[in-house]
């Protein structure tokens, strides 16, 4: 029996230009959904059905996208949880964190709590679904993976290590159906009280040396700043050169 998979999508934001785009992780969630259930995949967005970015998702070969029509200031979770509760899905896929708005990453957790489903975070792949249980691979930093199983139905947040979203094709994107239905109309009151401003640059913390002695302070003040050009070893013996590399590898903890 094919499993019912739903991917949730949002409006992303390009890191350089700040323009709306297909969000990276949501795109991967759609990609994984397509891998698991092909054309059966249901893709859902809570927001504006006129949003052009939805066409970028549709360009991945989606015949239609379900839109829970609501205003930006409304709470997306309310619409989504009502909708999902009615859909009897096996797996709901989302990104880890949205690229626009609050970017709290809380949506999947609140949905999981509301539906009473388990949630697995930072999924790199769903390897197999068998007997009501899915075998998932979780992404850990630096290419490491953890295997786990989880009972259906569940929510998975998709990590940036998952299979990259396929290219979006203009034609199918243009022709896809945007099926809108009205979403919940709960104002996000808490958020209304927040103030938002463009991000202030965060100065990187200087390596503050709390010098205990005058000599330390002197050393800290006169030490060569990090960066600049590196060390070049030319006339040393081969052993010394290799030792220098070895020391660096130990210092950087890539060799243990």
């Amino acid at each position: 029996m094919p499993h019912k998979i739903i991917s949730l999508i949002s409006v992303g934001r390009h890191p350089q230009s700040g323009r709306a785009r297909r969000s990276d992780q949501d795109g991967r969630a759609v990609e994984l959904g397509l891998k698991l259930s092909g054309s059966q995949l249901e893709v859902v967005h809570a927001g504006d059905s006129e949003e052009p970015v939805l066409r970028q998702y549709a360009g991945m070969g989606l015949a239609e996208i379900t839109i829970l029509e609501q205003d930006q200031s409304m709470d997306a979770v309310a619409s989504l949880s009502t909708y999902l509760a009615s859909r009897d899905a096996d797996i709901v896929l989302t990104g880890v964190r949205s690229e626009s708005g609050e970017s709290s990453g809380m949506v999947p957790y609140i949905l999981a709590e509301a539906l009473g489903w388990p949630l697995v975070a930072r999924v790199a792949d769903i390897v197999e679904i068998k007997d009501g249980t899915a075998e998932v691979l979780l992404a850990l930093p630096r290419g490491q993976r953890r295997a786990a199983t989880v009972k259906l139905p569940f929510i998975a947040t998709i990590d940036s290590a998952a299979q990259e979203a396929r290219q979006s094709a203009y034609g199918p994107g243009l022709r896809a159906n945007m099926v809108a239905q009205s979403g919940a109309n709960e104002l996000d009151e808490l958020r209304a009280n927040w103030s938002e401003a463009p991000a202030k640059p965060r100065p990187k913390r200087l390596k503050m040396v709390k010098a205990k002695t005058a000599a330390d302070r002197f050393k800290a003040a006169t030490a060569k700043p990090a960066g600049g050009s590196g060390k070049v070893m030319k006339n040393e013996s081969t052993e010394e050169k290799a030792q220098a590399i070895f020391d660096l590898l130990i210092e950087e903890k890539v060799i243990r």
Binding site: G101, A242, L248, V254
Partner: protein
Amino acid sequence: MSDIIRRDPRAEWIIRNRLHPLHDQYVSQEEGGEIRGPSGIIRKFPHKVGFIGPNGVKRIDRLKGNAASATGKRSSATQEVQLPLHQISSPEFYVVVVPDLVGGRLTSHDKDILGLAHKLISEHGGQGAVAALCFGEVKEEHFDLAGVDRLIHLNDPAFDGYAPEARVQALAYVDTQLTVKHWLFPDSVHGGADLGSRLAAKLGERPATQAWQVTAEQVVCRGASSSLDISRAMPRIAMLLEECGDAIDETRHEASSIEFADIPLLEGHIVDKGLMDVDPNAIPLAEAEFILSAGNGIHNWDQFHQAAATLGATEGASRVAVDDGFMPRIRQVGATGTWVTARVYIAVGISGAIQHMQGIGQVDKVVAINTDAGCDMVKRAALSVIGDSEEILSELMALVNAHRNQASSESEENSHAA
């Protein structure tokens, strides 16, 4: 020799047991040797007063316990400055920090948050204590120096490995048992963000996420892919970015433990199947932490592959090495290949054409092995060694092998000794 450690099991037991009537007395003996006698007079413990100076002479402590303690440790050797102890005897509330404890130790991120926790307490006023809540195996030895007043260590096997369901239930349980003013989590990929989000969802709180400027009243959070600063009232649960606060470095803390017995746990739906054994060469190039990359200056390819295996590095290549058929296309680093993010990138016999450099823009430390000291890769590298790649690689392999042998014989020794 006063150096010899004489254990006093009874004293140790009393010190461990907070509920023992003599607990306070023993603890303060340990610390500075002053106790208030039943009549209210301050008494000194003559054996505890003072410390052993650097040349072995006993000296009177006029620093009131701020000097190194003479007991319990081989302290004549340690010249560390003994920091003043920060004590909270009966906390009115807690700020609970759930550290990542990567590899069982506090990360610098964890320490920043512990520091921030103290800042929050002092802003709130009153008797608050910072509690660190740790799961599973803990190797950290200096909770006291990191600002941990109370340590909650839950090491029931149910919390081992990947157990987010059990862990969040434990957190929620602790929340019912202590007065927690704030729950603080590192907003990290090491599990902090996940656990924090779970707790927030469970408790129905709207957490502050990616918080970086925090006071007791207000918090500034990054939003919209770090392009937005959202200012809002400081909620009960917060997930914090690195460098959100300053780590504790001028006080010592009790790090006394709070025990919770029999936390009720419901069975979960997620089963951990363990870490995968990932071959360095199976790691996607873009994610690899350590890359050994080959260019046109490699002439002994068997040796190169062997070197990568010995170093435990992921293999990369310049386009020329790929074009010439020595390396597969997926290994190509650069404009038309992969853009890597490695922390250490060793470029062996790669000249540093601009198209190659594009691919290593995000690399932290580049090491160049090249016969040409004037090439662009040398300009980019943190360390360059000029010489023949084959010789240097073979020497490097020898060093690494020696290091590994030593390490393994040591661990063998240890296991024999045990």
